[in-house]
């Protein structure tokens, strides 16, 4: 027995040694691209677009690593800290400042300009991906928010149309909640929910600005407090499910298709998972409700492609980014993920035609709606959104803190951060 065991141990260790000595990592001559917002269907599309690229550039091979969204941030930072540099990575807006300030992202400004793309490119595309006027990422699409609503439940509650104003939003939520087992609004109280608070606070403020010229947060204003009070009341009065306090993205979507709640504040890519589980006739979308000033500022997020500073094949990497973002590829890409594409002409093609996408079409075309962009250049914004806002927001919903206190706490943090940034960029 002992002899067999000894032999086994040596066999395993010997095998480990041969593995360690063999060079089996991804071929260093290949480009390496890392995707983070992974879904099986999209990975297939990415692979096809990469195959096209390989065909157009003989001798070039591209390897893909697909990370799952929940752990992508941890994993990517681990790879980079371990000295394993991909060439191209998928870069969500809220990570950008972190990676740029760490010096890990290549400055694209000298290599890619708006002229490389056709005129139809959404005007701000390059701005969105820039920090201090240097381009670090180019968005492949926009995650714009609209309100998805359950037509069946609306009909049951005798409501004819989706809410157009904030007052209607509150009353609609209240009315829907009279149905047994149904709450009006799918509140996103867990991680990722910050942008809803930002929408309601700025919209009630009547301005899409986060800061005044001196760097003071607009969350000090009365409108912001009224906005927080409104959502707190919706929750307190039972117009949102009791456990939505803890809901993440997944739960809000499943809450919606299970009929637990009837209005969902979401980006268009959520429609893909809804269409698998609901009949198309049962839901539709409308733009986010308007504030007292007759305007509304739905949040616009983006994810783009960035090239790493540590990449040894930057030229080819930039070429790959350009390839992935060309009109035809972007069309397929946006269509597949249900995103607002970066080319204006395509947008129409993707969103026109049915009730389900009507909310986005109107948001992109009607002047009463303009986009709210997070202050993504602040390097502590990601942590503030995903931890502080979630924890203190929950405390407010539970009545442990008032909306006034909460708004002030957030404003204090943001003002300090903004002023630091202004001082650094004097």
């Amino acid at each position: 027995m002992i002899r067999a065991a000894t032999i086994f141990v040596f066999l395993v260790l010997g095998f480990a040694l041969t593995q360690a000595l063999s060079d089996k990592d991804h071929d260093p001559d290949n480009l390496l691209i890392v995707e983070v917002n992974t879904s099986p269907e999209r990975t297939g599309l990415l692979r096809r677009q990469l195959d096209d690229f390989e065909e157009a550039n003989p001798g070039v091979k591209v390897d893909v690593i697909s990370l799952s969204w929940g752990q992508a941030f941890e994993k990517l930072s681990m790879m980079i800290a371990g000295g394993q540099y991909p060439d191209v990575i998928e870069m969500p807006d809220f990570w950008l400042a972190r990676y740029v300030s760490a010096g890990q992202i290549a400055d694209m400004t000298p290599f890619l300009t708006q002229a490389d793309f056709d005129d139809d490119l959404e005007a701000d595309t390059f701005d969105y991906g820039s920090i201090r006027e240097r381009v670090y990422t180019i968005p492949y699409g926009y995650y714009l928010r609209a309100m998805i609503y359950n037509k069946k439940l609306f009909a049951q509650a005798g409501i004819e149309k989706p809410p157009l104003t904030m007052d209607e939003f509150y009353q609609t939520a209240a009315k829907l909640s009279e149905l047994p087992g149904v709450s009006g609004y799918c509140h996103h109280g867990g991680r990722g929910g910050a942008v809803f608070y930002y929408w309601i606070m700025t919209t009630m403020n009547g301005s899409d600005r986060f800061f005044d010229d001196d760097g003071n947060s607009t969350f000090y204003n009365d409108g912001a407090v009224r906005g927080l009070t409104l959502i707190r009341d919706i929750y307190k009065n039972g117009y949102a499910p009791q456990d939505s306090l803890n809901w993440g993205l997944n739960e809000t979507v499943s809450g919606f298709y299970s009929g637990t709640c009837a209005m969902l504040h979401q980006t268009p890519d959520a429609l893909t998972s809804l269409s698998k589980r609901m009949d198309d006739a049962d839901y539709a979308s409308s733009p986010m409700p308007l504030g007292p000033g007759g305007k509304s500022f739905p949040h616009l997020g983006y994810i783009g492609w960035s090239v790493l500073e540590g990449s040894e094949k930057k030229e080819m990497a930039f070429k790959l980014v350009r390839h992935l973002l060309n009109r035809e590829n972007n069309h397929q890409w946006a269509q597949r993920s249900g995103l607002v594409p970066i080319y204006r002409g395509i947008s129409d093609d993707i969103f026109r035609g049915d009730d389900i996408r009507a909310g986005w079409l109107q948001t992109t075309q009607d002047d009463r709606w303009s986009y709210l962009i997070n202050p993504n250049y602040l390097s502590d914004i990601a942590e503030f959104d995903s931890i502080t806002v979630v924890q203190t927001g929950q405390a407010m919903m539970l009545g442990e803190k008032t909306p006034e206190e909460t708004a002030k706490m957030w404003a204090d943090f943001l003002s300090a951060s903004q002023k630091r940034w202004m001082a650094e960029n004097e």
């Binding site: 867990g190 009791q242 803890n246 942590e383 979630v390």
Partner: protein, 291 residues
């Protein structure tokens, strides 16, 4: 070969593994505490004990999570141990169909912890699971609601999941220990007129005491460090009511990317666990000299 050298010879493979893959990383991890360390840029700035002062001085969440950790660890451990021990005693006494039931009872230990979390999230959710209606029916809840979003009682959600997961551990370990007791001892005791309960108290417990102590020790340490179930089920919420030190460390390291401070919190936890380990170690020493 004298006994000293022999001992090291037997220990060598273990020490090699531990040194390379546990000890070196551990020391590196601890060293972060003295640096302002950014994982992404790789910059390290020596700050000495500054971050320790921050922990002791102004960190309310840490104090809160410490209390939660104590509650989480003690409750989970208590139920896991009592139920696991009970089950081990029953399995040890044997019954019909044991060989079919036994492997099934060990199943929870083999489920990945994040799946355990997801599974129990389903069970507690009034839309997808039966538990809220059960609670309503037996009167511990007025209305079928989600336990996990009630800040006063949310911790019982992850604790239930953890107990479900942890019972088999104690069952396997204690059952193996019970099985190692030679039957002759009981037979001799019976002939001397010792009652069943006395045999349990004076034969069974002392003989499996080393296993009991080591499992209690190690399990408590693991539970205190066990964040996955809570991260999946409540993410520390609502409003930090299920935030334990381990989840706080995870947030600090991977959400705030503040590895330096995360390491400081980890060292604080390490220190407290060492006190616990030392105490239990002393008890074990006393008990072995007894027997």
């Amino acid at each position: 070969m004298n006994k000293q050298t022999q001992a090291w010879f037997y220990l060598a493979p273990t020490l090699l593994f531990i040194f390379l893959l546990v000890l070196i990383p551990l020391v590196t991890g601890i060293s972060y505490a003295f640096y302002d360390f950014d994982l992404i840029s790789g910059t390290k700035e020596f700050v000495g004990f500054d971050q320790f002062i921050r922990l002791l001085g102004e960190d309310e969440i840490f104090t809160m999570s410490l209390v939660n950790t104590l509650f989480w660890t003690v409750s989970s451990l208590f139920f896991q141990f009592m139920l696991g021990f009970g089950l081990a005693l029953i399995l040890n006494s044997g019954f019909k169909g044991i060989s079919i039931i036994q492997p099934v009872l060990f199943v929870p230990w083999a489920v990945p912890s994040f799946l355990i979390g997801l599974m129990w999230v389903w069970m507690f959710n009034p839309v997808t699971g039966p538990l809220p209606y059960l609670f309503e029916a037996i009167g511990i809840m007025d209305k079928a609601e989600n336990l996990l979003s009630d800040p006063d009682h949310a911790m019982w959600g992850p604790i239930t999941a953890n107990v479900w997961f942890g019972i088999p551990f104690f069952t396997i370990m204690l059952l193996a220990a019970l099985r190692s007791i030679p039957k002759e001892i009981y037979e001799a005791a019976e002939m001397d007129g010792v009652s069943g309960l006395q045999a349990f108290r004076y034969i069974t417990v002392p003989l499996i005491a080393p296993t009991i102590l080591i499992t209690l020790l190690i399990r408590a340490i693991w539970i205190a460090n066990f964040a996955e179930i809570i991260i999946v089920m409540t993410n520390g919420g609502p409003a930090n009511s299920t935030q334990i030190v381990a989840t706080y460390i995870y947030d600090t390291a991977y959400q705030k990317m503040d590895f330096g401070y995360a390491s400081v919190i980890s060292i604080a936890l390490l220190f407290l666990l060492m006190i616990y380990g030392f105490t239990l170690g002393r008890i074990r020493q006393k008990m072995t000299t007894y027997i």
